[in-house]
């Protein structure tokens, strides 16, 4: 079994942006971009009170590793770290932090965008929205890591 890789984590603890960024920086990097996904107070006309995230943790970590492998195919110099929160997350708190490092900024920006698009497609993580007056599971994409069309869509968004 591989040693746990600190770069790819699912955790009930609050996320620290600089801590995730520190996992990818090295002397060859000229750029680190961080993407921080926050819990928003509104969605689809509803007033959101908080979100509860659930994950299939070991598969989520493997999905993050796959995303990094895919990222390296397209941007070989880019390194990635992805931390995703689970459990109850309050409005304004980070639910996900992605750090991408590269020699040059263009690759770091693109790798970061690709990573969040792919995460939303293939990471086995679910969001339970608690809003004023009720609750609902937010259901997005059917997770299929082999869906080449989805992967191409993520690449297109990253490179736009």
């Amino acid at each position: 079994m591989r040693a746990p890789d600190e770069r790819f984590r699912v955790t009930p603890d609050p996320l620290g942006v600089s801590a995730v960024a520190a996992l990818v920086a090295d002397p060859g990097c000229g750029a680190v971009t961080t993407f921080v996904g926050l819990v928003r107070d509104h969605n689809a006309g509803r007033r959101v009170l908080w979100l509860e995230y659930e994950a299939y943790e070991p598969l989520a970590v493997k999905a993050f590793q796959q995303i990094e492998e895919e990222t390296r195919e397209r941007w070989p110099s880019a390194g990635l770290a992805i931390h995703h929160r689970i459990g109850r997350v309050a409005i304004g708190e980070p639910s996900v932090v992605i750090a991408a490092a590269s020699a040059h900024r263009a690759d770091a920006f693109a790798a970061s965008r690709y990573a969040i698009e792919r995460l939303k497609q293939i990471a086995p993580i679910w969001k339970h929205e608690h809003f004023e007056g009720g609750e609902v599971w937010i259901e997005g994409a059917t997770a299929d890591p082999g869906d080449e069309a989805a992967r191409q869509m993520a690449l297109a968004r990253a490179c736009s």
Binding site: G37, Y56, L59, K62, K120, P124, W126, W137, G140, A143
Partner: protein
């Protein structure tokens, strides 16, 4: 053979359990396990075309053949990250 079934999010709520054990016939696939669940918990049928599955913590097809002791997980459409869709 005995398999462990893991359910998440809405599927977990419908079945009222995150983990179940079921005895399946030899040669059973992930779809066999799914069909057994739908028989027990008919509202799962709504997810027939949207569900993903994993066997032993790796994504798999519903056609994957199971063996004794396997863990098969059924996953409703995912929604990690923040915001929705391309927002």
């Amino acid at each position: 053979m005995l398999v462990t079934i893991r359910l998440f999010a809405r599927l977990r709520e419908i079945a009222g359990a995150a983990e179940l054990e079921r005895t399946l016939p030899d040669g059973a696939t992930a779809r066999t396990a799914w069909d057994v669940l739908v028989g027990e918990f008919p509202p799962l049928e709504d997810y027939a075309t949207a569900v993903s599955c994993a066997v032993n913590e790796e994504y798999a097809r519903l056609t994957a053949v199971l063996k004794d002791g396997d863990e098969v997980a059924f996953l409703p459409p995912v929604s990690g990250g923040s915001g929705q869709g391309s927002a």
